[in-house]
Amino acid sequence: METGLRVFLLSGPRADVPHAAAPRTLALLCCLSLSLSACGLFKRKEPELLGASAPQTEEPLEDASQQPVVEPQVARRSIRVPKITKEDFETSLHAGFMSIEDFGGSPSLSARLAYHISEDFFLEGAFGYAKGGLTSYERLAGGVRLLTDRDRQFTYYAINMGWNALPGEVFVGKNRAYNSAIYLSAGLGGTTFAGDNRFTANIGVGYRVLLTRRLAAHVDFRDYLFDIDVLGSKKVANNLEGSLGISVFF
């Protein structure tokens, strides 16, 4: 039985390895969770929603005097109630400047998509691009190149959590007020730079001004931190990005 299971699980390549302890654990877990899953199927209980299926207790009216004299013939109108739309998502494009540690600064571009969970918190996914320049060593030594042109490309992704820490208003002149918020963000992601994929943490602060209800302008600063050992010793590189962005709520 066990052999059979092992063969089934490992389907092919390494089923013949005699001392595969981990697959055995896996097989045991298989049995356990499959049986539990099966229990789930049998135990399945339909949730009662809206009490839709109230028992029909209506009895046939036997007494003729209780029968309605006139059957009302009313054609029901179907009314379509308008739905309330939502705009919890915000998408933005940012252009700015990124300073890559030891590799100079360059223009940067990023795109972000945020989901506003509550008035205070939002989740955000981001992609960005920048390009590293020459290190001071390369510049001084002339023709030496530590990285190829392709390896200088700096691309990152990140999943962040944001907090609208300071909501407020901006007053322009006497008659205009715009909603604004200073937000803090932090997250994790990956960066491809100098020929490697690097686990990257980022922290940032931004300022969002709502120009209209759905359109907002951003000023945003983020620090992307990762380990790098391209220049001899291993260290944590701080890569600062400052950007301006425009976003739309939808």
């Binding site: 969770s33 789930g40 309330i84 008035e119 918020a181 994929n197 209800r213």
Partner: protein, 251 residues
């Protein structure tokens, strides 16, 4: 064509349709609500940090233009528009005279949810892991899960795509353990600085044990351990432990 298909799909999913496509196809008709409380406070922005600038009196009707998180953007007949919080909106009446129906994700909906998506961060062997996943609920107890992950380590990086089945042992509890099984592919890429670096793609199988807890609204937290077995082309299979903590939202 693809966009149309996507549109039809989203139309069939109320949660999505509320967001994207109703605005494209809707006739522009707005839902109306009548103030039943002594007054309705309008703020300049969707949050308690923004000031109240106008008060709508009892009996007046407002158009509900849109909603952002727990705040409703409403407009009076005199074209004064502002943000009202959900607690006050609940005290308004619809045209039928019934209290305004506000769809709010809750524990009850959590139990019967269909879709769930989220992200994890954690450890995969000696590497740091980031994963995103999507779940489809087959029943309150069973969920199919698709997950994509990247692990970045000192010696190598790995990318994984897996598909599996999770059994939620007590979906009616606020915190419930779950077990699951799955399989997928893993691409392991040794660090560029190491010599003899050869990328390899292998199959893997996993067993998972974890706990999931309803947090609030449409959010839940998850913590899980996966025991992975990578079916390598060498003489021994590779066992890799994976711990991760994450959050998800359901819809």
């Amino acid at each position: 064509m693809a966009l149309q298909t996507l549109g039809l799909y989203a139309w069939s999913q109320p949660a999505l349709a509320d967001n994207f496509f109703t605005r494209w196809f809707a006739s522009g008709e707005l839902k109306q609500a009548t103030v039943a409380d002594p007054y309705l406070e309008m703020r300049t922005g969707p949050g308690v940090g923004y000031p109240v600038f106008y008060v709508v009196g009892r009996g007046e009707a407002v158009d509900i233009v849109t909603r952002r998180t727990d705040w409703f953007y409403v407009r009076t007949a005199r074209q004064i528009a502002g943000w009202v919080d959900m607690r006050q909106m609940r005290a308004t009446l619809e045209a039928s005279g019934q209290p305004l129906e506000i769809k709010e994700p809750s524990r009850a909906e959590y139990t019967v949810r269909r879709y769930e998506a989220g992200a994890f961060a954690g450890r995969f062997g000696d590497a740091s892991l980031i994963a995103v996943f999507g779940d489809y609920g087959l029943s309150p107890h069973l969920a199919a899960e698709l997950s994509v992950a990247e692990a970045i380590g000192v010696a190598s990086d790995a990318r994984m795509a897996t598909i599996g089945l999770n059994h939620i042992m007590a979906p009616e509890w606020r915190v419930s353990p779950y077990l699951g099984l799955g399989a997928g592919v893993i691409q392991i890429k040794p660090r560029a600085t190491l010599v003899q670096a050869v990328d390899r793609t292998d199959q893997l199988g996993y067993a998972v044990i974890g706990a999931r807890g309803y947090l609030s609204r449409r959010f839940l937290g998850r913590f899980e351990y996966r025991g992975n077995v990578v079916f390598t082309s060498r003489n021994e299979n590779e066992a890799l432990h994976e711990w991760k903590l994450g959050f998800a939202f359901f819809f």
